[in-house]
Symmetry: C2
């Protein structure tokens, strides 16, 4: 019995060590050295090559090294009878909310404006609104979105959120559905995307969405690059409809060297660091899912492939 590890982003050696400590009776094989496909029961993956999972006849569980599973479902050959679990790690959630808070404070305190002034040698004060006057809209009210909303609220911001199905959160205005989406946009000075990537949310950050935001709003994308229509963002920044964009995720990662986002003065690029999974905290959670699968216990955080999250 073996675990297959396949990710070009995560540290394979550290994962193998951590899994050996947690599950000493299982061998971890690192892609592409998969050995006999018929002896692999569990797969721990980030963006596996198409066809890989379908070629494992005894596969009992697919675990995502991340909160999203779009990188798994993108492969239509992934066997539908094998349960897929996503990584729900409180440490990753905390990291993500911290990044969102840091970037929201940065936009709120006009850091990017003061940075531009510093580059130009300009000493000029700007009116500073109270955080209660700063309307932040969060797209996605799953575990990440809810945690970020709570953290921002604790720091004084005026928070609203949007999700596909209606939610109720204490002290946070919750919108849902198509009309709710437009209403959320109209009251968001800062828009934060924490949605799962599905057919319904792909390209959701497009010209139409930007046009519904108040003029001079800013956008933070910490979900997936494919939520964003790159050309529409550039146009909205250049027209002044948007002030700034802070982007941690991209259609292609690493972001290609010639991509215009790298050199745009009002775009911040970070290399997918907002809520990266950490081996130390994530390995015990993945190990627990495998133990449950071995024991035939109900799994936690199973994804609905039709819904996409």
């Amino acid at each position: 019995m073996a675990i297959l590890f396949c990710s070009s982003l995560d540290p394979a050696g550290r994962w193998r060590e951590a899994l050996a400590r947690e599950l000493p009776h299982l061998e971890t094989r690192i892609y592409p050295d998969i050995g006999d496909p018929g002896t692999i029961d569990y797969a721990l993956v980030w963006a596996p090559p198409p066809g890989l999972l379908a070629a494992l006849p005894r596969l009992k569980l697919i675990a995502s090294i991340g909160a999203g599973v779009d990188h798994i479902l993108a492969d239509p050959s992934v066997p539908r009878h094998v349960p897929i679990v996503r990584l729900v790690d409180p440490a990753t959630t905390r990291l993500m909310s911290e990044y969102v808070l840091a970037q929201t404070l940065r936009l709120h305190r006009q850091d990017l404006l003061y940075e531009a002034q510093q580059r130009a040698g300009i000493w000029q004060w700007h009116e500073q609104p109270d955080p209660a006057e700063r309307r932040v809209g969060i797209l996605g009210l799953g575990r990440l979105g809810t945690d970020a909303a709570t953290r921002l609220k604790a720091n004084g911001f005026d928070i609203a959120g949007w999700s596909r199905t209606g939610k109720t959160l204490d002290g946070i205005a919750c919108f849902s559905g198509g009309e709710g989406f437009d209403a959320l946009l109209r009251r968001s000075d800062i828009l934060i995307c924490l949605l799962p990537l599905t057919a319904a949310t792909e390209n959701i950050l497009d010209r139409r969405a930007f046009d519904h935001l108040p003029r001079g709003a800013s956008v933070v994308n910490v979900a997936r690059g494919r939520h964003l229509v790159d050309a529409d963002l550039l146009e909205a920044l250049d027209s002044g409809q948007l002030a700034y964009a802070i982007l941690d995720v991209f259609r292609e990662e690493p972001l290609p060297p010639d991509h215009p986002f790298w050199r745009h003065s009002r775009i911040v690029v970070t290399p997918h660091v907002a809520g990266a999974a950490e081996v130390r905290t994530a390995a015990p959670i993945i190990a627990d899912a495998i133990r449950r699968a071995e024991a035939g216990l109900p799994l936690r955080d199973v994804v609905d492939p039709e819904r996409g999250y």
Copy 2:
């Protein structure tokens, strides 16, 4: 009876309007149009010209438009028999703590490193410590320092503070005195200066202090420019002893166009915006001090000129 307003930094017109609403029986005169000096009872000032306050024979109260009074005490002719009150405004305190939190998060999340990478087109992830592993040291545990410490603690950082006289704060390691100063420095990955400017604290951020910090520490100065020895900071950054400095205050403000801080790649310059007084919230507090002086009631937040705060 009249109030004299004298500040080159604050909006005189808005202050006059706000004081007229609060104290309709008093006239506000804006420097240099002071009228008859013998009819001025109250002075509301930021860095008044030397000799101005000494030339007001009936002066009963000097109010600082700011938490510090160094800009008043710098004038040796200021009459010692007239009480000086400093501005203690919860809104200013909140603004200051928000700035300190924003900049601490920025250093913690390695924003300045990722910004340098963006400028160079480099996609590279860096290990992200937990905030509980990030040791933040706060110089000054007055109202501003205590509030900032509490806010940073609530956001997960490992906080310690230093003050001239010993303090006790819940969950925060408090140091005092000369040995305590060195001990605080040795455990501060991020050092934040929120001290009053006095003869004892001038030039406190010098080469000796930087040498006691862990290698690669960063410094945030939101107190006064004269706490910092500019040349020592540049040397510590250039040697790698310090990683970054975030500065909101300077020896000369506006920061002169040819000052090397403007163009240093590891110095952030903001134009004294961390905790600027806002007329809306500060005017009622100043008006209350004047009403107390008029009524002969005990004043709040009176400064000890010998101590300097």
